[in-house]
C-alpha cells in the first residue's frame, strides 16, 4: 500500500503532538507561524506552547532559556527567518552556550530552497545549509520526504544539542515507501551506479532520482545518494560508498559555490583522498524575482530536471575524454 504524501511539518508536528501527551518536558515555541497540526498542539498543550510573535531573535533566546530549565524545545518558523534573522542568537545562545551547558533545542525551518514558490527571495532560502553547517556543534537535517522528516523526531528527542531541520513547504512525493531510512547513518543509497554518483539533499533528491531514471534509459547508470544529515553522517561508510565513482555530482537547492553541500563534498573528497572529479549543481549566485512554477524557476537557475540532465550528460562525456 502506498504511503500518502504529507507536508514534512505536519508529519513532524504530529509526532511532537503525540509525544507531548507523554512527555511533560517538551515545549513548543513559534514565531507566529502555523500549520493545521499546530492548532492541536495549541489547543491541547497551552502551557507548553508559546507564540513569541514576529520576533525570531526572541524566539531563539526564549527557547534557549526554556532548554536551560530542562525542556526539550522545538522552535518553529519560516526557514530564512529562523536562521538568518536571528543568526547571532543562534550562535551565542545555542551553538556557543550548548558547549558549556546541556540543552536540547530543535529549530524547525519551513521553506527550504524555492518551496515558497511565489513568495520571492525573502521567503525562499538558499543560504541556510552554508550558515548552519558553519556552527560546529549544530546538527543539520535536510529530509526529502515526510517519512524522513518524521523519523528525525526520534533523533531530536534522543540527541542533546542544537539542531536545524530544513523542511520543504510543499507536499513532496514519498521516497521511502517501505520504511524510513536509517537516520543514524546520515545518508541513504537509493541506487548504485557505475561511473557517476548523484549526491542530493532535500527536494533535489527527487530531481536526482528522475534524472537517474532518464539517464539509465540512455545507458548511463548513475548512483543516487540522499544525504540528509549534513553535519554528522557516518564518514567512513560515506567514503566507502563514494569510493568506486570517478565522478560525483552535488545537487542542492541553494547557492552554488558558497559553502553549501558542494563545499562540504569538496572538503570531504579532498580530506579523504578520493580521486573523483566533481560537478556542482546549485543555484547560480544571484537572487531572482521571476515568477513561475518551481520547475520553471529551477530551470532558469540551472537546477531544473532538464538542466540537470544536460549537465550530467556533459560531465559524463568529459570524464571519458
Amino acid at each position: 500500500m502506498s504511503v500518502k504524501p504529507l507536508a514534512m511539518r505536519d508529519a513532524f508536528l504530529e509526532r511532537i503532538w503525540l509525544a507531548m501527551a507523554e512527555d511533560s518536558k517538551i515545549f513548543f515555541t513559534c514565531a507566529d507561524f502555523g500549520s493545521p497540526v499546530l492548532d492541536k498542539i495549541r489547543a491541547d498543550f497551552p502551557d507548553r506552547f508559546v507564540n513569541v510573535g514576529i520576533a525570531e531573535q526572541n524566539l531563539i533566546n526564549v527557547s534557549a532559556g526554556l532548554a536551560l530549565e530542562g525542556y526539550t524545545v522545538f522552535a518553529y518558523a519560516i526557514a530564512p527567518f529562523i536562521t538568518m534573522r536571528c543568526y547571532e542568537q543562534v550562535r551565542v545562545s545555542l551553538a556557543l552556550l550548548s558547549e558549556v551547558r546541556p540543552m536540547n533545542v530543535n529549530l524547525i525551518g519551513v521553506g527550504a530552497g524555492y518551496s515558497y514558490v511565489v513568495s520571492g527571495p525573502t521567503h525562499q532560502c538558499y543560504e541556510d545549509i552554508t550558515l548552519m553547517r558553519a556552527l560546529p556543534n549544530f546538527q543539520v537535517l535536510s529530509p526529502a520526504d515526510h517519512v524522513t522528516a518524521s523519523a528525525f523526531f526520534d533523533t531530536c528527542v534522543n540527541t542533546s544539542g542544537p539542531k536545524y531541520l530544513r523542511f520543504d513547504a510543499q507536499v513532496l512525493p514519498v521516497v521511502y515507501e517501505s520504511a524510513a531510512p536509517d537516520t543514524s547513518k546520515g545518508f541513504h543509497v537509493h541506487k548504485r551506479g557505475e561511473t557517476i554518483c548523484l549526491v542530493a539533499t532535500g527536494y533535489m533528491l527527487h530531481t536526482a532520482i528522475k534524472a537517474a531514471g532518464e539517464l539509465a534509459s540512455e545507458g548511463l547508470r548513475v548512483g543516487v545518494i540522499d544525504l540528509f544529515d549534513l553535519a554528522r553522517f557516518s564518514a567512513t561508510e560515506f567514503q566507502d560508498t563514494l569510493k568506486p565513482y570517478v565522478g560525483i555530482v552535488s545537487l542542492e537547492e541553494g547557492f552554488r559555490g558558497r559553502g553549501g553541500l558542494d563545499s562540504m563534498l569538496f572538503e570531504f573528497i579532498s580530506r579523504r583522498g578520493l580521486s573523483a572529479r566533481m560537478l556542482n549543481i546549485g543555484v547560480e549566485g544571484a537572487y531572482h524575482f521571476e515568477l513561475g512554477t518551481r520547475t520553471e524557476l529551477h530551470e532558469k537557475v540551472g537546477i531544473g530536471p532538464q538542466a540537470v540532465l544536460n549537465s550530467v550528460r556533459a560531465f559524463a562525456k568529459s570524464l571519458t575524454n
Binding site: G53, Q57, Q89
Partner: protein, 272 residues
C-alpha cells in the same frame, strides 16, 4: 556570615578595591563599566536577595542571575571568589593562559549562567528561563543585570514585550544606568529618555534608585522580590561609569580609557 550582619558598604568598598587590583594586573579587562555595577552585585549576593549555592552553582533551588553586561562585570570575579565559587588565588591570573577568568566572562566560570560577551542576549534568555520556572511551578526568580547602552539592542525590546505579555513576575531586570556606552553618553547617541517611563509603558513594575547606595539597591530589590502581581520588575540603578576613579568617573570615553597603574596604586593606598 548572616546576610543581615554583613556591612554592605564595607563589602562594596572591598569589591571596588579588588576590582581595581584585578584591572591593575589585567588591563585588558573593562574597568569603568565594572565599577558602575558593584553595588548592584553586592546587594544581590550579600544583601539576602539572591538564593545561590557556591558548592553547586547550577543548584535547581538557586535564583538565576544572568549577567548580561558581560564586559562590565569584572567586579564579579572577587565576589564569586569571596563566596567560594572558586579559590581567591585565581584572581591573580585573570587573562593569563590557563585561567578561566577572561577579559570578558564566559559561562565556563562557576557562577555565570550564560554567554555574556555579545550584548543584548541576557534578557531574552532570562525570559525563557522565567517562563520555564513558572511552568515547572518553581518559586525561584531570574535576575538580569544589563547596561543601559546594551538596551539599544532591539532584541531586548522583544523580550521586554514578551515578559509583560506572559506576566513574568519572577523576572527582575536591573539596569546599570550609567548612561555611557563605548563612544560617549547614550543621551547623545540614542537616548532612552526616562527608562522608568518607557518600561512602565511596556507593562513593567519600575523602581528608580541611586545605584551606588547599596542599602537602597538592596531594599528596592527585596521590595520588588516580595511582590508578585503579574508584572515583570525593573530596577533602574542610576550609576556612574568609572565610579570612584578620578579621570574615569563619568568620562564619555571611560569604556576605553585605562587609568595609569600609578593612579591605581595610589588609589589603593589612599583608600585602605
Amino acid at each position: 556570615m548572616r546576610n543581615d550582619l554583613i556591612d554592605l558598604r564595607a563589602k562594596a568598598h572591598w569589591v571596588w578595591r579588588e576590582t581595581l587590583a584585578v584591572h591593575r594586573r589585567a588591563p585588558e579587562t573593562r574597568l569603568a563599566s565594572s565599577l558602575s555595577s558593584i553595588e548592584i552585585f553586592v546587594a544581590l549576593y550579600y544583601g539576602g536577595v539572591l538564593r545561590f549555592n557556591p558548592s553547586n552553582p547550577r543548584d535547581e533551588e538557586r535564583d538565576r542571575c544572568i549577567i548580561s553586561k558581560g564586559h562590565g562585570s569584572i567586579c564579579m570575579y572577587p565576589i564569586l571568589a569571596d563566596l567560594g565559587y572558586f579559590p581567591m588565588e585565581e584572581l591573580q591570573h585573570v587573562c593569563e593562559a590557563g585561567s578561566f577568568l577572561g577579559g570578558i566572562p564566559d559561562p565556563v566560570i562557576p557562577g555565570y549562567e550564560t554567554v555574556n560577551g555579545s550584548l543584548g542576549h541576557g534578557l531574552g534568555v532570562a525570559t525563557g528561563m522565567a517562563l520555564g520556572l513558572k511552568r515547572k511551578a518553581s518559586d525561584r526568580s531570574v535576575f538580569v543585570v544589563a547596561g543601559d547602552g546594551e538596551l539599544h539592542e532591539g532584541a531586548n525590546w522583544e523580550a521586554i514585550m514578551f515578559a509583560s505579555q506572559h506576566k513574568l513576575d519572577n523576572l527582575h531586570l536591573i539596569v546599570d544606568d550609567n548612561r555611557i556606552s563605548m563612544l560617549g553618553y547614550t543621551d547623545d547617541i540614542v537616548s532612552h529618555g526616562a527608562l522608568t517611563t518607557r518600561l512602565s509603558a511596556f507593562g513593567w513594575d519600575c523602581i528608580e534608585v541611586d545605584g551606588h547606595d547599596v542599602l537602597a539597591v538592596r531594599d528596592a530589590l527585596q521590595q520588588q522580590k516580595a511582590i508578585a502581581e503579574g508584572k515583570p520588575k525593573a530596577l533602574i540603578a542610576r550609576t556612574l561609569k568609572g565610579h570612584g576613579v578620578p579621570g574615569l568617573e563619568n568620562a564619555p570615553l571611560s569604556h576605553i580609557i585605562n587609568p595609569k597603574p600609578e593612579l591605581i596604586d595610589s588609589l589603593l593606598e589612599k583608600t585602605q
